[in-house]
Subunit: 208 residues, 2 copies
């Protein structure tokens, strides 16, 4: 009882998704270089290899493309990285995992981070709220694990809230100066930043 309509339905959707992803990826690239407002729909279409009007089959507006980019740097880390904070291990171990995962993701989606961190003002108020909620959630969980580490005596820091801001600002700032292909790999930077952030700022001993 195979149903032809079903077996072909999935591949067809996947093809559409790929074109969608292709648009988002190309748009992120150009937005990061030129800035959202300077880039026209025709520029994005050119990069993808279609005409401007065809974009509207995939996205209702230019702003929705930007929204999709912003989601990949807020929703994705929230869903993929935050579970690491619920895993087994000490706060030191769990936060170190999060830092590493965050930097791997940031490197994989580097241009998206640049856009997502700089073009928030171009979102509609509704979309901006969604993005800011994801960011607040992430920030909150980082702060919570720092607080947990303070209670367990692993971390010694004057103010958990300030420390959580210092940490996330350090991490996200990397998108502005790191480039693949330099002396250091992203894993090198991650090693360094785990040392600076978790051990030095928070005061975790290397035994934890």
């Amino acid at each position: 009882m195979t149903q032809p309509s079903e077996v072909t339905a999935l591949p067809r959707q996947q093809r559409t998704r790929q074109r969608r992803d292709d648009i988002v990826a190309n748009a992120a690239d150009i937005f990061a270089r030129e800035g959202y407002s300077k880039v026209g729909m025709r520029d994005i279409a050119d990069a993808v290899g279609i005409k401007g009007a065809s974009l509207y089959h995939h996205f209702p507006s230019k702003e929705d493309i930007l929204f999709a980019i912003c989601l990949t740097v807020t929703q994705e880390p929230a869903e993929e990285n935050l579970p690491l904070l619920d895993a087994a291990g000490t706060p030191t171990e769990r936060l170190s995992s999060l830092v590493r995962a965050h930097l791997v993701h940031l490197n994989r989606r580097r241009v998206e981070y640049i856009v997502g961190l700089h073009e928030l003002a171009s979102l509609t108020p509704e979309h901006r709220t969604v993005i800011e909620d994801y960011r607040r959630q992430y920030q909150r969980r980082v702060r919570d694990v720092i607080t947990a580490g303070m209670r367990s005596g692993e971390f010694t820091v004057p103010d958990a809230r300030l420390a959580s801001f210092a940490l996330t600002d350090m991490l996200n700032g990397i998108s502005n100066w790191f480039h693949d292909g330099g002396e250091l790999s992203i894993e090198d930077v991650a090693d360094n930043y785990v040392e600076l952030a978790v051990h030095r700022i928070l005061g975790a001993s290397h035994g934890n």
Copy 2:
């Protein structure tokens, strides 16, 4: 032999400067809230209390207003804060002074920092180069004082360049979440960040 043309010349220039500063200050405010591209010349003019066309007596273009804003968050810190690194004292003392001065300036020009850190892409290539040169200069001097502290044995850090990025990203990130009138004053945050950045990240003992 008083010369009327001269005694009135300076006040007249000052009045013009004040109107100029007024435009820049109002523009920074609106740009920070709404985003550079969404704000029209008429919006800026409304806030100042003049008509749109009158702005062009003071600035040749909207982009030049943005450039002026970006200069206040790059040129001003470079000229006002960097001399602190040439003063007497240990690297620990000099870098601590810089951090405090930086945060006081960031608080005084908070909306300008938000704009200057997010709207770089809207500058002409020529203007962007100027701004980026100031930022590179600042970054370089921070890195140099860290290197000096490593040589003197005060600082123990794996990589001076990475540490300098971590430091400046931490500091500038504050503009995104700090608001005057909260629990902590900017001086409280400065105390906290000197501890986190200079003493913990860089490893300076409190005796230095």
